[in-house]
Symmetry: C2
């Protein structure tokens, strides 16, 4: 199993604090020591940092924390392998170009290996990457270009994610460069941070931040994580077979999936 | 214009010394200060570091040099923009998945914008990414899967690169995870390093390395660069409209292109 982290905002924000909390679970306070990845969008392109090692002991993960890159949309993952060996090819998040933009995907759980992958071929051998390829193939089948209607795209993602995840465990995060789709199969939480901002403390470490000191009143930040990352904030627990869509730091939609 | 760097080896090797030389030309000893990128393959997947800033002044580029990652195949680029603004989406090298493997591409020069891009859509707005998309579309059209014949693939890459580059300047590097294609349109050089290894000094800085101290007798390393990166080695100058294919640290083929 693995842990997921997503961030979606209305102003460029760094993910340092939350990523610190996630990285601790990658081999220090948690058993997810088989790899880590962090995708940070700049417009329609994501830059992705990947390593098939424990995030808690990674010099690159430390570098990324110490040199924060601000972004509107980020997806991170720490891995404890179930299907597929340890290696860069099996390290989440996965990335593909569709409709002239990067889609980024990370998965928690185990699903039956997808078969209808269209033109998207897995590079590694995880069930997760197969599921991602199947999801993109289905979206490409449904829409010739990036859909003008956000509702149409959200409905399609929810439908296909539900179909692909059926019979398995398919908690997943999907980014398209302008919004974050977060499907809860068994375990997923979110929090919306906005004015008035408060102090927060990591759940697993004595590390705090006063968000009021690093934000402006108009900032809005949505954070999604497998388990709450802080101990002194109120996180919303996901209902199984539900998908959230976050846009500009708000919960834009909640759909059955 | 830009500068290209490629490395292809028979044993995992770090690209630190050559990348140091290239990065110097990214805003210090050269004018290529509009971005840099470095793709390092691990099997069929490339991890890519990208920044739309000068490599010579980049903390991430410094980190990558100080924490070398060994690889059999790497492609790097420092950018001085001609077509397309400064930004992550326009930063080389570009990456796409085809046939379940990453293809990585970097370009020096300017070409007429390609039109037949197949299913590969540019994310940014450079002529280079369009050319890459057109090249992959042509390869996918010619072969259903990754060709079993290395000669067939090399001939196809040489043919389509020549066609796409016609009338423009199309020096390019293309990696497929197991070999490096290097097309010379106007300016490209290579060197093969093998036993007995010697000392080498960067062309632009007083930085030396004794390769004999960091290699074994069976190691073979091919380096391709826009301009020779060292001052005390003999580099081979490319003939215009020629493509080299490097495999296991050897020059496997030279083709008209």
């Amino acid at each position: 199993m693995c842990e997921l982290l997503g961030m979606e905002c209305n102003v460029p924000t760094d993910i340092t604090f939350s990523f610190h909390g996630l990285a601790s679970r990658g081999g220090k306070c948690g058993p997810h020591a088989d790899g880590w990845g962090l995708a940070l969008y700049e417009g329609k392109l994501a830059r992705v940092f990947l390593e098939p090692v424990a995030a808690a002991h990674s010099a690159l993960a430390t570098f990324v924390r110490e040199h924060p890159i601000k972004t509107l949309l980020a997806i991170a993952h720490v891995r404890r392998k179930t299907r597929g060996g340890i290696g860069l090819v099996n390290t989440h998040p996965f990335t593909r170009e569709l409709w002239g933009r990067h889609f980024v995907f990370a998965h928690n759980g185990t699903v039956k290996r997808a078969t209808k992958l269209g033109r998207f071929k897995p590079i590694g051998d995880t069930d997760s990457e197969s599921a991602f390829c199947a999801l993109l193939a289905a979206l490409e089948h449904d829409f010739k270009d990036y859909p003008k209607s956000a509702a149409d795209l959200a409905n399609a993602v929810a439908h296909h994610a539900g179909r692909i995840g059926k019979g398995g465990t398919f908690n997943m995060l999907l980014g398209d460069g302008s919004q974050l789709f977060a499907r809860c199969s068994t375990k997923l939480h979110y929090i919306l941070r906005h004015s008035p901002f408060k102090k927060a403390t990591l759940a697993d470490e004595d590390v705090s931040i006063d968000f009021a000191a690093v934000t402006t009143p108009k900032d809005r930040v949505a954070i999604v994580a497998t388990m709450p990352l802080t101990r002194d904030e109120t996180w919303t627990t996901g209902e199984p077979n539900t998908m959230w869509v976050f846009k500009a730091g708000r919960l834009a939609r909640t759909l059955p999936s």
